[in-house]
Symmetry: D2
Subunit: 294 residues, 4 copies
């Protein structure tokens, strides 16, 4: 089986390495300064796309009408990309343009639940790294509030508890609060009555949770980290006026652990292929016809 | 607010106590040997049902056409019950007969997610108690397999890990396996390749997982506990033939922690009422009209 | 290498099994109703002691001048025992009579730190089993006080925390309190200011900690378990007068996990032999002369 | 009570703040660019030392015959320091020169066990931060080896386990290995048979553990962090030759959490005073005569 990995950043190089280590032939394009990478073939867009059986694109695959390739000088438009691959299957993060332009099957790995869970793990690790690095006090013994009990909240709550932090998770649903208690953490609702008691606050909710009014209730020494994608859930303007420490941390998985982020892409694509083959993992068998008739 | 609790076992007495401690007036019926219970009024069916604003029944509310009341000599048919309460709201575990017979609103607390989570906690505590009591070796250092990553599996995996057991959870879905790894446990699929390696196996799946063939692969010293409701997920007959230790443990919450089981019923009913009132918890205000117009 | 195991209860049978599974020849005496036990030879005192290279006695090896053998009708006095073994090395729990009577080397396994740690694990498991079984509420969410941060306190604090109990450990030394906080638990000193707040109290201190005065400060629903060896650290008389639930739990390792308790005896004896041989584990080599010249 | 804090870095400013917040009057000297710090008096050496009842110096109090004051232009020799304070009590990290020069009582806080434990917590947090930051893969799922089960090893093992890393601790003593297993981690001896399996190795032992020969057994992707004070326990030269990632991380507490590091100094000094007063904490009573007659 031949896989072409087109564009992307360091993560995609690690994804290439992960594919290669799993016994897949890999060619990469869109990394012009790269001469070689272990056993992986380095080439140009056209060669790679013609050579490959499958094509893998980054999580955010399109930038201004072209395949996202921050490390390449040459650009490849989505239209050209589509023409070059013909009906070959494409794996990429969710994208409307790719979906509507490509003729063959498009498999989205970024919306898969196991992809999201593993990325939540990396995001949690990244958030903890930032807290440890920038918070001047100890995590051990700190009073920590996590806003939201989605994937990231779940992982963070668990990892932070182990440091001997006193963790409270704000959650709206009674069932989430039941889970939080089952796992030995404190829980509260979004009235956030004890807001002034927390030394560290981590937001995971993509909505304005810490607005002007709430920011004014925080203690002076508070350390805020917002993990929600832009525009985030914190009134940063007001936080700045109050001179509070406040970090909006984005795209942590690729920063904290590019190797893991790359491996997760590979793993998820393998899961997709396995399911498409009715639970049978033909990948190792190098059956070139795999998926082509899907 | 006046609540009548009708029938049930020890759990319902603790539920009565929990209501009473929350400032609710409580009358119980269906406990004939009971003379008094703290501030709680003890009475007969008719008096209680006429007096109450709300009626609470057990999780399994009906036995052979009557309200389940193992501690009562007198029986109350569902028909009589329905006639006596008129249009008063009823809270009970899921039951078709009650649903179709009662004229007023019927609220099912046992299908609520937060009820199920809290009961999973009690089931996990009960399962651990049984393992500790009957397993002759140490939980610390044991190789444990949990079949299924539903609510009970989630809680058990966490609690058992803390004993220094080496926990593996069998799960079918890639996303469940991602969660299991995120939380530091081992995971496997249902081919159960290492089956002979486990000293303790806990089944939570309501399907024949450990069939004749699998039972034959187990080591002689294995300790099996099946938490799935009857008929369970283990070939008990074959396990017996092989002289394996095998326990089918049912209805653990009421046995291991009747006080908590009772409190959970009360908490869940409070949550239902709160939601019916649009998120406002009128319960403490003793507004007798609450819910009556629902 | 030939090992004779003399007297004791179920634990010693498991110790015999553990020795046998490690490739040691084993003969047991002092279990008169026992006909056979796997590959282990069952015999009488004299035969076993003459046959053996090493002799293993129970943790509490002497009862009223005889080798402790609750499952034997025939008694063996320490004097006869000493005469029969000559200068063969003996392994046993600490005992003054054995030490002063036996001519050869006497190795005490029960005072070894690794023996004590592993027994603390079993004691903790046993204590948790008793709490789960007899405490009518849930461990999850319970306010638990552990008196003492010795071996048992350390293990208990860790295991109980995982259940989502709110654990506080009373400790006298600032360094112990530093450790307790490092591991994310609460700590207090022995003024026990919040004594009325705890639902579960576990004593591990062999001194009167919960005296008459302290007992009177406890809440009515408290569940007390005393793990300190007799006379314990609780004013049981006063606890009874107040009708509090109070258990004095002794000798838990042998009750909760006789198989593990037996294996620990074997493991510790192996460690002793290894050290006596200068770090070299000759045990597997079946060098009969091993230790004889010590 | 009046406390003078002389020299040191950011940590000592946080110590000053911690003393001040505990109700102690504080004057600092040796921070020449500092104009003011909350309620704390900023002054020169002589004024501060004359004004104070007690004097607090940094953990490493002496540099080239002078009080360590990296943020001061003016130097204060130990001789001058000693003359200026007369018989006032001094609190500092262990130092031979201070001990032999000062006339009054010298209390060493850095050798106190609770100080060391709390610093181990900060060191562990710092080590985890460095691993998260520089290790390109995920901590979750990593195979981690910790060399040594002293204070730092104990804390690290616990915190790292929570990330879902597979933690093995190398320890020499059977009792340490018993503790490691009791807490659910893997353990090995220093033959380090599985050395090539680890992705992350953390050394805490102040001796050459990873020598030339061991370095050659490591896998190419290994990430090594050495926490042992100089010269450390790793053959850095050989690690460099093999192009392995290897960090010698020193003095982490002051870097990762200066605020906590400062508070710990204050807490430990309070504990010393409490003990010197026979367990009575007179500190809050502002009894100026406290300790002076010791």
């Amino acid at each position: 089986m031949k896989v072409a990995i087109i564009g992307g950043d360091k993560r995609m190089l690690f994804a290439a390495k992960a594919f290669s280590e799993s016994g897949t032939e890999v060619m990469i394009a869109g990394f012009e300064n790269l001469k070689s990478l272990c056993d992986i073939l380095v080439s140009d867009y056209e060669t790679a796309l013609k050579w490959a059986d499958y094509v893998v694109l980054p999580i955010r695959p399109v930038t201004e009408g072209c395949i996202a390739a921050p490390n390449a000088k040459t650009k490849l438009t989505v239209t050209d990309f589509s023409r070059l691959i013909g009906e070959k299957p494409v794996f990429c993060g969710f994208n409307e343009t790719i979906n509507s332009t490509v003729k063959g099957s498009v498999y989205c790995y970024s919306t898969r639940e196991e992809f999201a869970v593993q990325n939540a793990v990396l995001t949690a690790e990244g958030a903890i790294e930032m807290i440890l690095r920038f918070y001047e006090n100890s995590l051990n013994g700190a009073n920590v509030l996590i806003l939201g009990y989605g994937r990231i909240g779940k992982v963070l709550a668990r990892y932070l508890s182990a440091f001997g932090a006193e963790v409270t998770v704000a959650a709206r649903k009674p069932r989430d609060r039941a889970w939080i208690k089952a796992f030995g953490m404190n829980t509260c609702d979004y009235s956030l009555k004890e807001l002034s008691e927390y030394q560290i606050i981590i937001n995971t909710v993509p909505a304005m949770v810490l607005d002007h009014k709430q920011i004014d209730r925080l203690c002076d020494d508070v350390f805020i980290i917002d993990l929600a994608s832009a525009p985030g859930g914190v009134d940063f303007q007001r936080a700045k006026e109050r001179d509070l420490t406040c970090i909006h941390a984005l795209a942590l998985p690729g920063k904290i652990a590019p190797a893991a982020a790359g491996r997760i892409i590979k793993d998820t694509i393998f899961n997709i292929i396995k399911e498409e083959n009715g639970g049978k993992d033909n990948f190792g068998l190098r059956d070139d016809r795999l998926l082509l008739h899907l």
